[in-house]
Amino acid sequence: MTDTQWETYEVFHQSKKGDPHMYVGSLHAPDPEMALQMARDQFARRLKCVSLWVVRTKDITATDYQNDDFFAQTTDKSYRDPKAFDAPTKELSHE
Protein backbone atom coordinates (compact mmCIF):
# COMPACT_ATOMS: atom_id res chain seq x y z
CA MET A 1 0.00 0.00 0.00
CA THR A 2 1.62 3.27 -1.06
CA ASP A 3 0.94 6.43 0.84
CA THR A 4 0.33 9.17 -1.69
CA GLN A 5 -1.26 12.57 -1.71
CA TRP A 6 -3.63 11.23 -4.44
CA GLU A 7 -3.92 12.37 -8.07
CA THR A 8 -4.38 15.96 -9.10
CA TYR A 9 -7.47 17.49 -10.69
CA GLU A 10 -7.79 20.85 -12.41
CA VAL A 11 -10.75 22.97 -11.29
CA PHE A 12 -13.02 25.26 -13.34
CA HIS A 13 -15.52 27.55 -11.71
CA GLN A 14 -18.57 29.38 -13.06
CA SER A 15 -19.68 32.41 -11.02
CA LYS A 16 -23.09 32.76 -12.60
CA LYS A 17 -25.02 31.28 -15.49
CA GLY A 18 -24.04 32.95 -18.72
CA ASP A 19 -20.41 33.35 -17.62
CA PRO A 20 -17.72 31.05 -18.95
CA HIS A 21 -16.11 28.54 -16.59
CA MET A 22 -12.76 29.95 -15.40
CA TYR A 23 -9.69 28.02 -14.32
CA VAL A 24 -9.12 28.53 -10.59
CA GLY A 25 -6.45 26.00 -9.68
CA SER A 26 -5.83 22.37 -8.89
CA LEU A 27 -6.26 19.98 -5.97
CA HIS A 28 -5.50 16.44 -4.87
CA ALA A 29 -8.41 14.00 -4.60
CA PRO A 30 -8.95 10.23 -4.52
CA ASP A 31 -11.65 10.23 -7.22
CA PRO A 32 -13.78 12.59 -9.37
CA GLU A 33 -16.74 12.75 -6.99
CA MET A 34 -14.61 13.67 -3.98
CA ALA A 35 -12.67 16.07 -6.20
CA LEU A 36 -15.90 17.94 -6.88
CA GLN A 37 -16.70 18.19 -3.17
CA MET A 38 -13.19 19.30 -2.29
CA ALA A 39 -13.32 21.87 -5.08
CA ARG A 40 -16.47 23.28 -3.52
CA ASP A 41 -14.70 23.61 -0.14
CA GLN A 42 -11.45 25.04 -1.46
CA PHE A 43 -12.63 27.19 -4.37
CA ALA A 44 -16.23 28.12 -3.63
CA ARG A 45 -16.48 28.98 0.03
CA ARG A 46 -16.11 32.69 -0.68
CA LEU A 47 -16.49 33.03 -4.44
CA LYS A 48 -20.08 32.91 -5.62
CA CYS A 49 -20.42 29.74 -7.67
CA VAL A 50 -23.14 27.96 -9.64
CA SER A 51 -21.08 25.30 -11.37
CA LEU A 52 -17.80 23.45 -10.92
CA TRP A 53 -15.93 21.19 -13.31
CA VAL A 54 -13.05 18.98 -12.27
CA VAL A 55 -10.79 17.24 -14.76
CA ARG A 56 -7.93 14.86 -14.03
CA THR A 57 -4.70 16.70 -14.79
CA LYS A 58 -3.51 13.76 -16.89
CA ASP A 59 -6.62 14.07 -19.08
CA ILE A 60 -5.71 17.58 -20.16
CA THR A 61 -4.00 17.86 -23.52
CA ALA A 62 -2.13 21.14 -23.78
CA THR A 63 0.10 23.08 -26.16
CA ASP A 64 3.76 23.61 -25.38
CA TYR A 65 4.97 27.21 -24.82
CA GLN A 66 8.24 26.26 -26.43
CA ASN A 67 6.53 25.34 -29.67
CA ASP A 68 5.08 28.70 -30.57
CA ASP A 69 5.10 27.71 -34.26
CA PHE A 70 1.74 26.14 -33.30
CA PHE A 71 0.19 29.62 -33.15
CA ALA A 72 2.27 31.29 -35.87
CA GLN A 73 0.47 33.67 -38.19
CA THR A 74 3.24 35.20 -40.26
CA THR A 75 1.53 35.86 -43.57
CA ASP A 76 -1.16 38.43 -44.29
CA LYS A 77 -4.44 37.38 -42.68
CA SER A 78 -6.10 40.78 -42.80
CA TYR A 79 -9.02 39.22 -44.67
CA ARG A 80 -10.01 37.82 -41.24
CA ASP A 81 -10.18 41.31 -39.76
CA PRO A 82 -13.56 43.08 -40.02
CA LYS A 83 -11.71 46.42 -40.30
CA ALA A 84 -10.23 45.38 -43.61
CA PHE A 85 -13.63 45.66 -45.37
CA ASP A 86 -16.04 48.54 -45.81
CA ALA A 87 -19.43 48.42 -44.14
CA PRO A 88 -22.54 48.77 -46.28
CA THR A 89 -23.33 52.41 -46.98
CA LYS A 90 -26.75 54.06 -46.57
CA GLU A 91 -26.33 56.58 -49.34
CA LEU A 92 -27.03 55.77 -52.91
CA SER A 93 -24.36 56.88 -55.32
CA HIS A 94 -25.78 58.11 -58.62
CA GLU A 95 -23.21 57.59 -61.26
Binding site: M1, Q5, W6, T8, R46, D64, Y65
Partner: protein
Protein backbone atom coordinates in the same frame (compact mmCIF):
# COMPACT_ATOMS: atom_id res chain seq x y z
CA UNK B 1 25.71 27.45 -32.59
CA UNK B 2 27.44 25.54 -29.81
CA UNK B 3 25.37 24.21 -26.95
CA UNK B 4 26.87 26.79 -24.63
CA UNK B 5 26.12 29.69 -26.98
CA UNK B 6 22.55 28.38 -27.45
CA UNK B 7 22.14 28.32 -23.69
CA UNK B 8 23.48 31.86 -23.34
CA UNK B 9 20.98 32.96 -25.98
CA UNK B 10 18.15 31.23 -24.10
CA UNK B 11 19.21 32.97 -20.89
CA UNK B 12 19.38 36.35 -22.62
CA UNK B 13 15.89 35.81 -24.10
CA UNK B 14 14.61 34.73 -20.69
CA UNK B 15 16.00 37.82 -18.97
CA UNK B 16 14.64 40.07 -21.71
CA UNK B 17 11.19 38.58 -21.13
CA UNK B 18 11.40 39.24 -17.41
CA UNK B 19 12.66 42.77 -17.86
CA UNK B 20 9.78 43.35 -20.26
CA UNK B 21 7.34 42.37 -17.50
CA UNK B 22 6.31 39.12 -19.19
CA UNK B 23 5.34 36.14 -17.05
CA UNK B 24 7.11 32.82 -17.10
CA UNK B 25 4.67 29.90 -17.24
CA UNK B 26 5.07 26.15 -16.60
CA UNK B 27 6.76 24.58 -19.60
CA UNK B 28 8.69 27.75 -20.52
CA UNK B 29 12.46 27.39 -20.68
CA UNK B 30 14.02 28.64 -17.45
CA UNK B 31 17.51 28.54 -15.93
CA UNK B 32 18.00 25.79 -13.39
CA UNK B 33 18.74 28.35 -10.67
CA UNK B 34 15.41 30.05 -11.32
CA UNK B 35 13.52 26.78 -11.04
CA UNK B 36 15.39 25.73 -7.88
CA UNK B 37 14.95 29.15 -6.25
CA UNK B 38 11.24 29.15 -6.94
CA UNK B 39 10.70 25.60 -5.71
CA UNK B 40 12.51 26.50 -2.52
CA UNK B 41 10.56 29.73 -2.01
CA UNK B 42 7.13 28.33 -2.85
CA UNK B 43 7.50 25.13 -0.85
CA UNK B 44 8.86 27.04 2.15
CA UNK B 45 5.94 29.39 1.88
CA UNK B 46 3.49 26.45 1.72
CA UNK B 47 5.15 24.78 4.73
CA UNK B 48 4.85 28.04 6.65
CA UNK B 49 1.12 28.12 6.06
CA UNK B 50 0.46 24.60 7.30
CA UNK B 51 2.82 24.86 10.25
CA UNK B 52 1.29 28.26 10.90
CA UNK B 53 -2.09 26.59 11.44
CA UNK B 54 -0.84 25.21 14.74
CA UNK B 55 -0.01 28.21 16.96
CA UNK B 56 -3.42 29.78 16.41
CA UNK B 57 -5.32 26.52 15.84
CA UNK B 58 -4.38 25.58 19.40
CA UNK B 59 -6.81 28.27 20.63
CA UNK B 60 -9.87 27.07 18.68
CA UNK B 61 -11.26 24.99 21.57
CA UNK B 62 -10.82 27.91 23.97
CA UNK B 63 -12.01 30.84 21.83
CA UNK B 64 -14.27 33.20 23.81
CA UNK B 65 -17.68 33.50 22.22
CA UNK B 66 -19.28 32.36 18.97
CA UNK B 67 -17.93 35.09 16.77
CA UNK B 68 -14.30 34.62 17.81
CA UNK B 69 -14.58 30.84 17.60
CA UNK B 70 -16.13 30.79 14.12
CA UNK B 71 -13.73 33.45 12.85
CA UNK B 72 -10.73 31.54 14.16
CA UNK B 73 -11.82 28.23 12.60
CA UNK B 74 -12.28 30.05 9.27
CA UNK B 75 -8.90 31.71 9.54
CA UNK B 76 -7.00 28.52 10.30
CA UNK B 77 -8.94 26.86 7.47
CA UNK B 78 -7.75 29.64 5.14
CA UNK B 79 -4.18 28.82 6.10
CA UNK B 80 -4.70 25.23 4.99
CA UNK B 81 -6.17 26.68 1.82
CA UNK B 82 -3.12 28.86 1.25
CA UNK B 83 -0.81 25.89 1.80
CA UNK B 84 -2.88 23.99 -0.74
CA UNK B 85 -2.59 26.77 -3.34
CA UNK B 86 1.15 27.12 -2.84
CA UNK B 87 1.92 23.40 -2.99
CA UNK B 88 -0.12 23.26 -6.20
CA UNK B 89 1.81 26.18 -7.67
CA UNK B 90 5.12 24.53 -6.73
CA UNK B 91 4.02 21.25 -8.33
CA UNK B 92 3.98 23.02 -11.72
CA UNK B 93 7.79 23.04 -11.51
CA UNK B 94 8.05 19.27 -11.41
CA UNK B 95 8.24 18.60 -7.67
CA UNK B 96 5.51 16.48 -6.04
CA UNK B 97 3.58 17.24 -2.88
CA UNK B 98 4.83 13.92 -1.44
CA UNK B 99 8.42 15.12 -1.90
CA UNK B 100 7.75 18.52 -0.38
CA UNK B 101 5.91 17.09 2.64
CA UNK B 102 8.66 14.55 3.12
CA UNK B 103 11.23 17.35 3.30
CA UNK B 104 9.14 19.27 5.82
CA UNK B 105 8.41 16.32 8.07
CA UNK B 106 11.97 15.01 8.02
CA UNK B 107 13.21 18.40 9.20
CA UNK B 108 15.11 19.15 5.99
CA UNK B 109 12.92 21.99 4.74
CA UNK B 110 12.69 25.40 6.33
CA UNK B 111 9.54 27.37 7.07
CA UNK B 112 8.82 30.81 8.46
CA UNK B 113 10.67 31.05 11.70
CA UNK B 114 8.00 33.12 13.38
CA UNK B 115 5.92 29.96 13.86
CA UNK B 116 8.54 28.45 16.14
CA UNK B 117 7.37 30.70 18.95
CA UNK B 118 4.71 29.66 21.46
CA UNK B 119 1.22 31.09 21.86
CA UNK B 120 0.64 30.97 25.63
CA UNK B 121 -2.34 33.37 25.73
CA UNK B 122 -5.56 34.11 23.80
CA UNK B 123 -4.20 37.60 22.99
CA UNK B 124 -1.56 35.94 20.79
CA UNK B 125 -4.30 34.95 18.34
CA UNK B 126 -5.26 38.58 17.67
CA UNK B 127 -1.67 39.82 17.74
CA UNK B 128 -0.48 37.19 15.25
CA UNK B 129 -3.44 37.92 12.98
CA UNK B 130 -2.64 41.60 13.11
CA UNK B 131 1.16 41.93 13.30
CA UNK B 132 2.42 38.75 11.66
CA UNK B 133 -0.14 38.87 8.86
CA UNK B 134 0.59 42.56 8.21
CA UNK B 135 4.27 41.77 7.81
CA UNK B 136 3.34 38.80 5.63
CA UNK B 137 1.08 40.89 3.41
CA UNK B 138 3.79 43.49 2.80
CA UNK B 139 6.05 40.68 1.66
CA UNK B 140 3.32 38.90 -0.26
CA UNK B 141 2.13 41.96 -2.15
CA UNK B 142 5.62 42.09 -3.57
CA UNK B 143 5.50 38.37 -4.41
CA UNK B 144 2.18 38.86 -6.25
CA UNK B 145 4.29 40.68 -8.87
CA UNK B 146 6.47 37.59 -9.22
CA UNK B 147 7.69 36.79 -12.71
CA UNK B 148 6.48 33.20 -12.31
CA UNK B 149 2.82 33.02 -13.37
CA UNK B 150 1.49 30.32 -11.00
CA UNK B 151 3.18 31.97 -7.99
CA UNK B 152 1.82 35.42 -8.88
CA UNK B 153 -1.69 34.04 -9.30
CA UNK B 154 -1.62 32.11 -6.03
CA UNK B 155 -0.30 35.18 -4.22
CA UNK B 156 -3.07 37.45 -5.47
CA UNK B 157 -5.69 35.15 -4.03
CA UNK B 158 -3.73 34.74 -0.79
CA UNK B 159 -3.22 38.50 -0.35
CA UNK B 160 -6.95 39.06 -0.72
CA UNK B 161 -7.69 36.62 2.10
CA UNK B 162 -4.80 37.76 4.30
CA UNK B 163 -6.14 41.28 4.25
CA UNK B 164 -9.18 40.12 6.15
CA UNK B 165 -7.09 38.08 8.54
CA UNK B 166 -5.41 41.33 9.49
CA UNK B 167 -8.80 42.92 10.15
CA UNK B 168 -9.95 39.91 12.18
CA UNK B 169 -6.76 40.04 14.27
CA UNK B 170 -6.98 43.78 14.76
CA UNK B 171 -10.63 43.46 15.81
CA UNK B 172 -9.70 40.92 18.48
CA UNK B 173 -6.83 43.12 19.71
CA UNK B 174 -9.04 46.23 19.93
CA UNK B 175 -11.54 44.36 22.11
CA UNK B 176 -8.71 43.50 24.52
CA UNK B 177 -7.02 46.91 24.38
CA UNK B 178 -10.31 48.56 25.33
CA UNK B 179 -11.27 45.89 27.84
CA UNK B 180 -10.64 45.00 31.47
CA UNK B 181 -7.20 45.62 33.02
CA UNK B 182 -6.55 41.88 32.69
CA UNK B 183 -7.39 41.92 28.98
CA UNK B 184 -5.23 45.00 28.41
CA UNK B 185 -2.19 43.55 30.12
CA UNK B 186 -2.71 40.27 28.23
CA UNK B 187 -2.50 42.06 24.89
CA UNK B 188 0.47 44.28 25.80
CA UNK B 189 2.35 41.19 27.00
CA UNK B 190 1.58 39.51 23.70
CA UNK B 191 2.85 42.47 21.65
CA UNK B 192 6.02 42.45 23.75
CA UNK B 193 6.64 38.82 22.90
CA UNK B 194 5.78 38.99 19.17
CA UNK B 195 7.46 42.27 18.23
CA UNK B 196 10.99 41.03 17.51
CA UNK B 197 9.99 37.66 16.00
CA UNK B 198 7.74 39.59 13.61
CA UNK B 199 10.56 41.97 12.68
CA UNK B 200 12.72 38.95 11.92
CA UNK B 201 10.21 37.70 9.35
CA UNK B 202 11.62 39.79 6.51
CA UNK B 203 15.07 38.25 6.97
CA UNK B 204 18.40 39.67 8.09
CA UNK B 205 19.61 43.04 6.78
CA UNK B 206 21.68 42.74 3.63
CA UNK B 207 24.11 45.47 4.64
CA UNK B 208 27.03 43.26 3.70
CA UNK B 209 25.55 42.82 0.26
CA UNK B 210 22.79 40.58 -1.03
CA UNK B 211 23.23 36.83 -0.79
CA UNK B 212 23.61 34.96 -4.07
CA UNK B 213 19.99 33.75 -3.68
CA UNK B 214 18.78 37.31 -3.18
CA UNK B 215 20.79 38.72 -6.07
CA UNK B 216 19.33 36.24 -8.49
CA UNK B 217 15.86 36.64 -6.96
CA UNK B 218 16.04 40.40 -7.52
CA UNK B 219 17.40 40.04 -11.05
CA UNK B 220 14.71 37.59 -12.04
CA UNK B 221 11.92 39.58 -10.39
CA UNK B 222 11.06 36.91 -7.88
CA UNK B 223 11.84 39.46 -5.18
CA UNK B 224 11.72 43.21 -5.74
CA UNK B 225 12.58 44.78 -2.40
CA UNK B 226 15.41 44.22 0.06
CA UNK B 227 14.74 42.73 3.48
CA UNK B 228 15.37 46.03 5.17
CA UNK B 229 12.97 47.88 2.86
CA UNK B 230 10.22 45.40 3.75
CA UNK B 231 10.97 45.66 7.47
CA UNK B 232 10.98 49.46 7.42
CA UNK B 233 7.67 49.48 5.58
CA UNK B 234 6.19 47.24 8.27
CA UNK B 235 7.46 49.36 11.18
CA UNK B 236 6.30 52.63 9.59
CA UNK B 237 2.86 51.14 9.07
CA UNK B 238 2.29 49.43 12.38
CA UNK B 239 3.86 51.51 15.14
CA UNK B 240 1.35 54.39 14.84
CA UNK B 241 -1.49 51.82 14.90
CA UNK B 242 -0.10 50.18 18.04
CA UNK B 243 0.28 53.51 19.80
CA UNK B 244 -3.20 54.65 18.73
CA UNK B 245 -4.54 51.73 20.80
CA UNK B 246 -2.71 52.89 23.90
CA UNK B 247 -0.21 50.04 23.51
CA UNK B 248 3.51 50.23 22.76
CA UNK B 249 6.38 48.23 21.29
CA UNK B 250 9.07 46.77 23.60
CA UNK B 251 11.73 48.98 21.98
CA UNK B 252 12.63 52.13 23.90
CA UNK B 253 14.61 53.43 20.93
CA UNK B 254 11.61 53.32 18.60
CA UNK B 255 10.89 56.91 17.51
CA UNK B 256 9.79 58.87 14.48
CA UNK B 257 12.55 60.60 12.51
CA UNK B 258 11.24 63.89 11.01
CA UNK B 259 14.14 64.08 8.57
CA UNK B 260 13.71 60.66 6.97
CA UNK B 261 9.95 60.36 7.48
CA UNK B 262 10.53 56.87 8.88
CA UNK B 263 10.38 55.25 12.29
CA UNK B 264 13.75 54.39 13.77
CA UNK B 265 13.91 50.98 15.46
CA UNK B 266 16.30 48.54 17.09
CA UNK B 267 17.36 45.53 15.03
CA UNK B 268 16.25 42.16 16.38
CA UNK B 269 18.86 39.77 17.74
CA UNK B 270 20.03 38.01 14.59
CA UNK B 271 21.92 35.39 16.58
CA UNK B 272 18.59 34.33 18.05
CA UNK B 273 17.21 33.90 14.54
CA UNK B 274 20.10 31.62 13.60
CA UNK B 275 19.55 29.48 16.68
CA UNK B 276 15.80 29.21 16.22
CA UNK B 277 15.96 28.58 12.47
CA UNK B 278 18.40 25.75 13.08
CA UNK B 279 16.00 23.95 15.36
CA UNK B 280 16.78 25.44 18.71
CA UNK B 281 13.61 27.48 19.12
CA UNK B 282 10.93 27.04 21.79
CA UNK B 283 8.47 25.18 19.58
CA UNK B 284 10.34 23.77 16.59
CA UNK B 285 10.19 20.17 17.81
CA UNK B 286 6.61 20.46 18.99
CA UNK B 287 5.32 21.94 15.72
CA UNK B 288 7.00 19.34 13.53
CA UNK B 289 5.93 16.55 15.88
CA UNK B 290 2.32 17.65 15.55
CA UNK B 291 2.48 17.76 11.78
CA UNK B 292 4.19 14.37 11.68
CA UNK B 293 1.58 12.87 13.97
CA UNK B 294 -1.31 14.20 11.85
CA UNK B 295 0.42 12.85 8.76
CA UNK B 296 1.10 9.41 10.26
CA UNK B 297 -2.34 9.06 11.83
CA UNK B 298 -3.96 10.00 8.55
CA UNK B 299 -2.02 7.52 6.45
CA UNK B 300 -4.66 4.79 6.60
CA UNK B 301 -7.25 7.26 5.29
CA UNK B 302 -5.14 8.35 2.32
CA UNK B 303 -4.25 4.75 1.47
CA UNK B 304 -7.83 3.55 1.83
CA UNK B 305 -9.32 6.22 -0.41
CA UNK B 306 -6.63 5.64 -3.04
CA UNK B 307 -7.13 1.86 -2.88
CA UNK B 308 -10.89 2.24 -3.25
CA UNK B 309 -10.47 4.21 -6.47
CA UNK B 310 -7.90 1.78 -7.85
CA UNK B 311 -10.30 -1.13 -7.22
CA UNK B 312 -13.06 0.76 -8.98
CA UNK B 313 -10.89 1.42 -12.01
CA UNK B 314 -9.92 -2.25 -12.28
CA UNK B 315 -13.53 -3.41 -12.38
CA UNK B 316 -14.68 -0.59 -14.70
Amino acid sequence: MSAEKANDQKLADFEAKINGGEKIEPGDWMPDEYRKNLIRMMSQHAHSEIVGQLPEGKWIPYAPGFRRKLTLVAKVQDEAGHGQLLYSAAETLGVTREQMLDELLSGKAKYANVFNYPTPTWADVGVIGWLVDTAAVINQTMLAQSSYGPYARAMKRICYEESFHIKQGYDAVVALAKGTPEQQSMVQDSINRWWYPTLMMSGPPESKGLSVHSQLAMRWKIKTKTNEQVRQEFVDHIVPQIRALGMDVPDKACRYDEKTGHWHYTQPDWEELKRVVNGDGPCNKERLEMRRRAHDEGRWVREALAAKQRAKEVTA
